[in-house]
């Protein structure tokens, strides 16, 4: 009997030592974001979101430490990001990858993460079918269909638009957003008169010729997808300069074109624009107000988080969850298992990772730009609760 108890004790001690080995692991996380070039503003947003989460929630990582290894993806082309991912996987031996502002960068990196079995937590890149490219992709941001598809129905049913012209930046998420809106709009009985490609993502084009064409086509609604940032400001300026509001053409689109960080650089004519999106810094929920307050304290009163900042924040929450759920001994399968069905009370509202598609489930809100308290701001006028990516839900195109 005595011998048996000794053995048991020994086993317990041994187990304890073994578990002690897993104690306080250092988790390496590769961050691929544009830190230079025209898109550096997005990299900065996400970076700040991530850092704010880490600063506020030290306890969320348990006993474990994380090391962020940052690489600059520069431009949307995919090539630089792919090289960075290869280096992060093979040389730095990262446990997870995150970041990815531009869809082509996430797409180009997908085969590498499948081969290297390194999970990727996407913090922006919104082309709907990206998660199908690798079983190790999980997305905490959005898909173009979260905004475009409901916008289609809303334009027809609530805004009274029977005809629409679509203008989009000619690269994968632009085409995706075009398809999303067209599908939703035509399903509700609307007619898309034309879809106009308006230049590429790298350079802000002069939108005037495209907009003049739309002005003369006289649709009820003009749905636009351009990358967030300076493209969006140029869109609203052109819309204002051509006096398109007075012709009764409604400017609508995904919330990328009314990004919080750019709203104040837009002319007053932005008031009245209707967009569908999952986040604005103007949301009046307690969680968001605390988030915005902390953001301004950390980065300055004249800064504001936008949907990318919140994705960085939530993405880090997801990573923290994956680390603590596996108690620091990270495996690709373990991470994916921990994140499937993960739910979080984000500043944007409740978010959940759909275990089936590894994509996010969240509210899509109808935003109206209003001029109030001396500035342009976002008012939520309607909500589509807990939207699953409509592209995959409806098995459309590449989402099959």
């Amino acid at each position: 009997m005595m011998e048996y108890r000794k053995l048991l004790l020994g086993t317990i001690v041994a187990l304890g030592v073994a578990m002690g080995g897993a104690d306080a692991a250092k988790i390496k996380i590769g961050v691929v974001l544009p830190y230079s070039g025209g898109a550096a503003q997005f990299g900065e947003q996400i970076d700040r979101g991530m850092n704010l989460f880490i600063k506020q929630h030290k306890a969320a990582f348990g006993r474990h430490e994380i090391e962020l290894i940052k690489r600059d993806s520069k431009r949307p082309g995919g090539d630089i990001a792919k090289n960075a991912v290869q280096e992060l996987i093979t040389r730095q031996k990262v446990d997870m990858l995150t970041g990815f502002v531009f869809s082509p960068n996430a797409m180009a990196s997908a085969p590498l993460i499948t081969q290297g079995k390194v999970p990727m937590v996407i913090m922006n890149a919104g082309t709907a079918w990206i998660p199908s490219l690798s079983p190790y992709i999980v997305r905490v941001s959005f898909t173009m269909w979260h905004a475009g598809y409901p916008m289609g129905g809303y334009a027809m049913n609530k805004l009274g638009c029977k005809t629409a012209v679509i203008g989009y930046t000619n690269y994968p998420p632009g085409k995706d957003s075009r398809n999303a809106f067209a599908t939703g709009f035509e399903k509700s009985g609307g007619k898309v008169l034309e879809a106009i490609p308006m230049g590429g993502p790298r350079q802000v084009p002069d939108f005037t010729p495209f907009f003049q064409r739309v002005k003369n086509a006289k649709p009820d609604c003009f749905y636009i997808f351009v990358p967030a940032g300076n493209h969006a400001v140029a869109v609203v300026k052109t819309y204002a300069n051509l006096g398109m509001g007075a012709t009764g053409i409604k400017l609508i689109g995904p919330g990328d074109i009314t990004q919080d960080t750019k709203l104040q650089s837009m002319p007053k004519e932005a008031a009245g624009m209707i967009t569908v999106h999952h986040y604005s810094a103007d949301y009046k929920t307690p969680v968001n107000m605390a988030f915005v307050k902390a953001w301004k304290e950390a980065y300055g009163a004249d800064t504001t988080p936008d949907f990318m900042g919140v994705a960085g924040y939530d993405g880090m929450a997801a990573i923290a969850h994956a680390i603590t759920a596996q108690d620091g001994s990270i495996s690709a399968a373990g991470t994916m298992k921990a994140l499937a069905g993960w739910s979080y009370n984000s500043p944007r509202g409740k978010i959940t990772i759909d275990p089936k598609t590894r994509d996010i489930i969240q509210d899509s809100n109808v935003h109206k730009v209003v001029f109030k308290d001396g500035r342009l701001m976002i008012e939520v006028i309607d909500t589509f609760p807990q939207v699953k990516d409509p592209c995959k839900a409806n098995q459309i195109g590449k989402c099959k």
């Binding site: 503003q41 010729p209 002005k215 300069n241």
Partner: protein, 290 residues
């Protein structure tokens, strides 16, 4: 008004506005290439400098738009003089490859310097209210800012035409473009002409850069991105010809706008097709002389 007439007016108007902008930014390059035989690929750097000086003046010091536009042009014109004196001058006798290496190096340095000072993102300004929205010109309403751009371009062309055709300095510059050695031997101080022409060209580029912010935007890679367009204007117009630069800029502005309006899927391609065609037929450009 019929759809077609409406479209034609819109294309004409926007095309001319874009053409004017291209002309203002590239005419200096045409002058310096024709006069000094210097391949100055850094020309766009001066346009970019103008844009950023304008932003600093308006956002940092609160200078009104028009005043800032003029100040930026003057500032960059003066700033360009030491460049001509101490850098370009040394290489006038060198071959074109050296010109290209020096000036491309300057562009890269300018891009890095601007990124360092202003950051990598595009900058923006708030133009005064009278330049926002639409103006009624009697025969239709047009975007105010583009009307303003066309006006500035028109004034500049008149000024340049008078300056080159009606003043002694202009006559000297024309003489030096035609035959530099002859001009020198009859006592024209060609060295000083170079400085004047270079500063003038850079100042105009800066003015164009300032005007461009609202139309095509301004970021640290501006000088390289639009270099292609400046070179097209100069090549199609013919070296050293102001009239050529003007016609080429208008032509390219109109074709680019029309292409994007009428056939958005392939619009950006037209400008290159036309350039190639013109240069195949007239290798020296529309107004170039052997």
């Amino acid at each position: 008004m019929g759809q077609v007439a409406n479209a034609a007016i819109v294309i004409l108007f926007d095309g001319v506005a874009y053409g004017m902008l291209l002309f203002i930014m590239s005419v200096g390059l045409s002058i310096t290439m024709g006069l000094m035989g210097f391949v100055n690929l850094a020309h766009g750097g001066f346009a970019m400098a103008g844009g950023y000086v304008l932003v600093s003046l308006m956002v940092g010091l609160g200078v009104p738009f028009i005043a800032a536009l003029v100040l930026a042009a003057v500032f960059v014109a003066v700033l360009s003089i030491p460049f001509e004196r101490y850098l370009y001058r040394r290489l006038y006798e060198a071959d074109e490859l050296d010109h290209v290496l020096l000036s491309i190096g300057l562009v890269l340095m300018a891009t890095a310097a601007i990124t360092f000072i202003y950051g990598p993102s595009a900058v923006s300004i708030t133009v005064p209210d009278y330049l926002n929205g639409q103006v009624d010109l009697g025969f239709g309403t047009f975007p105010a800012y583009r009307t303003f751009t066309i006006g500035v371009g028109g004034l500049l062309i008149l000024g340049l035409w008078y300056g080159f055709e009606g003043t002694i300095i202009g006559a000297k510059i024309r003489a030096a473009v035609d035959n530099r050695r002859m001009a020198q031997s009859i006592g024209i101080n060609v060295d000083r002409l170079f400085v004047i022409a270079f500063a003038l060209g850079s100042g105009l580029a800066a003015l164009g850069g300032g005007l461009a912010i609202e139309i095509i935007g301004m970021e640290p890679t501006f000088a390289l991105t639009y270099l292609v367009f400046f070179l097209i204007v100069v090549a199609v117009g013919g070296l050293g010809s102001i009239r050529g630069a003007f016609v080429a800029a208008l032509l390219l502005g109109l074709i680019d706008t029309a292409g994007k309006y009428l056939w958005p899927d392939g619009g950006a391609f037209f400008i290159y097709a036309v350039t190639i065609t013109i240069l195949l037929i007239r290798p020296l450009g529309l107004f170039g002389r052997a």
